[in-house]
């Protein structure tokens, strides 16, 4: 299991604990990650506000880099997988692809369409033998009730995310929670927007979304949320106290990154998963889970 690894900007920035946890889990299960150090930000749908073509060139370049290495591209961010998948769809248009390849040629790269990007969440269930995956769970988190929080772009638009060939991707995060032996708490907001894309544009709306979802999950009995998206994590965790003020209630709900959850259940120690790097304290949760 070897991948061209795109860490995304946020795991190398304000959510470094995601990078730490991903590396720890990958090593533990024998995933070799070849980091694409020359790759660019996906643009996150924000560069495309003013420069949609530029954003497509940047993503075609990243996909072409993976394909040059002969490796599948792996993402650890819902936004990255969404933007990469949309680029793959647009690049099926031959004229458009040819135009973009002219921009890649000076670097010796060519987008040929043979790379299908995947998220770590999908790779766990699709690339690992089921028995082996289950055998790695050494510390089941049976005491925990966990709510999934997907992030829009790992769910929508369905047509670009391979849901037709891989129907399990629709509930992949519930599967991850079940895998670690915890119970799944479902709630309305779990597939909705965390609000992060408009945090600087319309802070009140953005935090009303984040606070609303966290509050709803809490009311449904969740001990914590788990997300495959570091941007959601920024709004749900790093902004949680500001969000609490907008929705006029106490929240204090820890938010786990997907590989932190998997790592904990595989018996990796919390400090190797960056669990002390959150804004909302994760200690009471670890205590409840019986970890230290």
């Amino acid at each position: 299991m070897k991948y061209a690894f795109w860490p995304g900007c946020v795991s190398r920035g304000a959510a470094p604990e995601l990078y730490t946890a991903t590396k720890a889990v990958a090593e533990h299960i024998g995933m070799e990650l070849v980091e694409l150090e020359a790759a660019a930000c996906t643009g996150a749908g924000i560069i495309s506000d003013g420069d949609p073509y530029l954003q497509d060139v940047l993503n075609a370049r990243t996909l072409a880099m993976a394909s040059k290495l002969g490796l599948p591209l792996i993402d650890i961010c819902s936004t990255c997988i969404g933007v990469h998948s949309l680029a793959v769809e647009k690049l099926e248009n031959e004229e458009y692809r040819a135009r973009i390849n002219e921009r890649l040629a000076p670097e010796g790269l060519e987008y040929t369409g043979d790379t299908k990007p995947r998220h770590l969440l999908w790779a766990l269930f699709e690339d690992l033998e089921d028995d082996r995956l289950r055998s790695l769970i050494k510390r089941p988190l049976a005491e925990l009730k966990l709510g999934p929080f997907y992030g829009c772009y790992i769910l929508r638009p369905e047509r670009v995310l391979g849901f037709a060939e891989h129907p399990h991707r629709r509930r992949s995060l519930e599967s991850a929670i079940e895998l670690v032996g915890a119970s799944v708490v479902t709630y309305d907001g779990m597939t909705k927007c965390c609000g992060f894309p408009i945090l600087t544009t319309n802070k009140r709306n953005s935090l009303a979304m984040a606070g609303g979802h966290v509050g709803e999950a809490k009311d449904s009995g969740a001990d914590a949320l788990v997300t495959p998206c570091p941007l959601c994590h920024l709004n749900l965790d790093a902004q949680q106290y500001d969000a609490a003020r907008v929705v006029h209630r106490k929240l204090d709900l820890p938010i786990l990154h997907l590989p932190q959850l998997i790592g904990l259940a595989m018996g990796i120690e919390p400090d190797k998963l960056g669990l002390d790097g959150h804004v909302v304290n994760t200690k009471p949760l670890l205590h409840k889970a019986g970890v230290r």
Binding site: A14, I46, P52, V57, E158, C193, P197, N205
Partner: protein
């Protein structure tokens, strides 16, 4: 005939009571949720209220939530959504006040069209052509899909921004505005883009794709909103948070190849007096981030490696030159539109 359980969210405006009620309906393969609701109303409970008319996904009356998502009851076949004997859950549309059972007050949804003035505003002092107006095929292809909107409100019902801000214009009205912005017979393009760039307009969209998934007519509202953003920026309407954010984001990636989290909030707020309260508003959050080491990591400004940065800068320069020569951004949107319409 197979039987199916339905759990219907009901509301009685006389007693102001909300409750769920379970019914069992018989259906034949090919029959729709609307057929079952009518079966229930006609044979079991005549007080059950819902809107419907054409039964052919044309009138836009019967949008409601089925298993949590907004759709037309008349376009949704029971066999397509039934799961392992679970009941089908039917609820009124979201983001609007319930009048009775599955009927909601759609006046806020309709007001948005009036606010956005989504009708043709002709070029003044111009004699009308002697015959009909002609529209070039390329122009028609750009917006004809948005003209198929039936005003059912499914997109508005699932919109994550309307949920937080009832004044947000919403996907349908914005898609209709797009249709006139790109209609060469309309005289108000620039004024429209200015209005749409204000608060509650295009820059408040979160790009959550809910409207694209909900729309029963493939209007692709969110894609229209995104193209309006690009067009507004192209027209120089950039004195707003959204454009500043996009430009600042782009600038960071140009320099380091990666998002620059440290300067983004400051540049998005803008170098102007009005930004000061906003920047102060970031302080408590920033202090918490400092404690968790997040701010330090962001300030380290991780970037692509040296060769990567060189190539990324080359691409930025080349694309800039290419944009001046040809309509590459319109091509990008056309590529997305054609694959989306083909897939749906």
């Amino acid at each position: 005939m197979p039987k199916q359980d339905f759990v219907i969210e009901r509301y009685d405006p006389v007693t102001e009571r909300s409750y769920e009620q379970q019914f069992t309906a018989e259906y034949e393969p090919g029959q729709t949720v609307l057929d079952c609701l009518n079966g229930i109303k006609w044979a079991q409970d005549g007080t059950l209220s819902f809107r419907w008319s054409c039964r052919h996904a044309i009138c836009g009356s019967c949008a409601m939530k089925v298993n949590g998502r907004s759709m037309l009851a008349c376009k949704t076949q029971v066999t397509d959504i039934v799961k392992r004997g679970d009941p089908i859950r039917v609820a009124p549309m979201g983001n609007q006040k319930v009048v009775k059972d599955l009927v909601v007050d759609i006046s806020n949804f309709l007001d948005a069209f009036e606010r956005a003035e989504t009708w043709l505003q002709e070029i003044p002092d111009q004699d009308p052509p002697s015959r009909e107006y002609h529209t070039a095929k390329e122009e028609f292809d750009r917006w004809s899909h948005t003209a198929t909107c039936i005003h059912c409100g499914a997109c508005y019902s699932d919109c994550t921004v309307v949920a937080a801000d009832p004044k947000f214009l919403g996907p349908a009205a914005l898609a209709k505005a797009y249709r006139f912005v790109f209609d060469s017979r309309d005289s108000q393009k620039h004024e429209r883009l200015e209005f749409l760039s204000e608060k509650h307009g295009i820059w408040d969209c979160t790009r959550c794709f809910m409207c694209i998934e909900a729309c029963p007519k493939d209007v692709l509202p969110m894609d229209a909103i995104m193209e309006l953003r690009t067009e507004a920026m192209r027209e120089g309407i950039t004195n707003n948070h959204g454009s500043r954010h996009s430009n600042a984001f782009r600038g960071g990636v140009r320099k380091r190849g990666r998002l620059d989290e440290a300067t983004l909030p400051i540049l998005s707020a803008g170098v102007r007096l009005g930004a000061i309260p906003e920047l102060i508003g970031y302080t408590p959050g920033a202090l918490r981030l400092l404690k968790s080491r997040k701010l330090i990591m962001a300030a380290k400004r991780h970037g692509a490696n040296r060769e990567g940065r060189r190539q990324i800068r080359r691409i930025f320069d080349e694309v800039e030159a290419e944009k001046a020569r040809s309509a590459v951004d319109a091509e990008a949107f056309a590529a997305e539109r054609s694959s989306a319409l083909m897939a749906h």
